[in-house]
Every structure is written in structure tokens, then in C-alpha cells.
């Protein structure tokens, strides 16, 4: 069985679904951030797979993957800073207990 585009797409769909489950079902804010990273990685695999199999000479998917990595780095830095600020105020990072902005 030769390796095709579908293999990579289904693999990244699996990875994205695992990340989605983690984001929806976890209490710990750091774990939720880690699961968001999983989902971003799944999207990157999809982009690179399309780049390899659909437009091998253009590399556009790889360029997009680079920009996704840049935004992910910025997102994780700001996200962890927010989590640390919340932890300093509330002594907890359980997202079911962080309801300061609920009215």
C-alpha cells in the first residue's frame, strides 16, 4: 500500500479530534493550552501534506505552516502569561472556577 494524501489527512483529523476533546473536556488551563497546540499541529500537517501532494513546486502550504507556527508561538506566550496572572490572583487555574467576568 503506497503512501498517499489521504493517510496524512486522516492522521491529522485524528490529532485534531484528540485536541478538540481535550479542549472541551479538561479543567486545567495549561492542559487546554497544550491541546490547542495539538490542534495547531494537526492543521500544520494538513497544510504541509497538501503542499507536498497537490502543489509540490509552489510550497505555498509550507509558507502557511510557517505563519501558523509564528502565530502559535505568540499565542502560547500570551496565553501562559494570562494563566500566570490568573493563578496569582485566584491561586487556581481550574477553568470551571474562573468566572470573574460572568454577570
Amino acid at each position: 500500500m503506497t503512501l498517499g494524501l489521504e493517510h496524512y489527512l486522516i492522521l491529522s483529523a485524528l490529532l485534531f479530534s484528540i485536541g478538540l476533546y481535550g479542549v472541551l473536556a479538561k479543567r486545567n488551563a495549561v492542559i487546554i493550552l497544550m491541546c490547542i497546540e495539538l490542534m495547531l499541529n494537526a492543521v500544520n500537517i494538513t497544510l504541509v501534506a497538501f503542499s507536498r501532494y497537490v502543489v509540490p513546486a509552489l510550497l505555498t502550504g509550507q509558507i502557511f505552516a510557517i505563519f501558523v507556527i509564528v502565530v502559535a508561538a505568540a499565542e502560547v506566550a500570551v496565553g501562559l502569561a494570562i494563566i500566570l496572572a490568573i493563578y496569582r490572583g485566584l491561586e487556581d487555574i481550574d477553568v470551571t472556577k474562573i468566572n470573574l467576568m460572568k454577570w
Binding site: L3, I10, P56
Partner: protein
């Protein structure tokens, strides 16, 4: 053939590591599992002949983001209490499963237009030409620089002691 074997090994280890991130009780072990998952993704990039992206993945994800996450885990002292699921565990599982099913059915039933040309072997020079060359992605590159600067400043402002 060797590529196929490498793909299956990387895929299985990656999915197991991703499940470890979601299922392990110990937050620190979940972070280590996440790092393993990032490494396997870098290997997948190599099987897709994206050598530059594999290096970037290892430098940024395995090198920088994992250190940030472990630092946050150490500073929030949530390691012992673990990562318990919330009340939405079963609905979340159902949603993720339905999403996966829809995605896989769509992927299998779409006729993708596979190109027959072989991929570029060293991609670094080609990526540099596309990013910085004439009519390329130079404006997004500049915007990414501004985004990173604002993210750095925002993280410092948010995380510093009052």
C-alpha cells in the same frame, strides 16, 4: 517502502502521545507526552520532504514552546492535583467523535487532484525566495514581526509583578 514504514511508526507513536496528553493524570507527564508528539510531527514533516519545516518544528515547538509550558506547569503547582475532566467529558467525547467522522468521510469522498511532479528536495532556498522575493510574502513577514513584538510586550505586561 522505507517511507511507508517510517510513516506508520511516526503516526502510531504520535497518536499514542496525543492520547497521553489528554488522558494522563499527571500534568508534567502530559507535557512530556506533548513534546514527544511534537517530535513525531517533525518526523512526519521529513516524510513529506519539508526539511526546513522539520527543523523549525524542532527549534520552536520542541525547543521553545515546550520549555514555556513546563515553566508554566512548575509555576502553577498543579502537578499533584492532576488534570481532572470537567462535567462535559461525555458530550465532549461525542462531539470530537462526530467531528472526526464527518471529517474522515469528507476526506475519503473528495477527489483530490494529486500532482505527479516530485517534490523539491532542499526546500530552504525556495522558501526564502517565496518569503522575501518579488511578489512574495514580504508584507505578511513584516506583520508577523510586529505580531511577535506585541506578543512579547503583552506577555511581559501580563506576567510581571504589580
Amino acid at each position: 517502502m522505507a517511507l511507508t514504514i517510517a510513516f506508520w511508526i511516526l503516526a502510531v507513536v504520535m497518536i499514542l502521545a496525543a492520547l497521553g496528553v489528554v488522558l494522563l493524570r499527571n500534568v508534567f507527564r502530559a507535557a512530556l507526552s506533548l513534546i514527544l508528539c511534537f517530535l513525531m510531527v517533525a518526523g512526519l514533516y521529513i516524510t513529506l520532504s519539508a526539511d526546513f519545516l522539520a527543523a523549525v518544528q524542532i527549534l520552536i515547538y520542541v525547543g521553545a514552546i515546550s520549555v514555556l509550558i513546563i515553566l508554566a506547569i512548575m509555576m502553577t503547582r498543579e502537578v499533584q492535583r492532576g488534570s481532572p475532566p470537567n462535567r462535559l467529558q461525555l458530550p465532549a467525547f461525542v462531539v470530537a467523535l462526530l467531528f472526526l467522522e464527518v471529517l474522515v468521510l469528507t476526506l475519503i469522498n473528495t477527489p483530490w487532484q494529486i500532482a505527479s511532479t516530485p517534490p523539491l528536495a532542499p526546500t530552504t532556498a525556495a522558501i526564502a525566495t517565496i518569503l522575501f522575493g518579488e511578489g512574495g510574502f514580504i508584507l505578511p513577514v513584516e506583520i508577523a514581526a510586529v505580531l511577535l513584538l506585541s506578543a512579547i510586550i503583552g506577555a511581559i505586561v501580563l506576567a510581571r509583578e504589580k
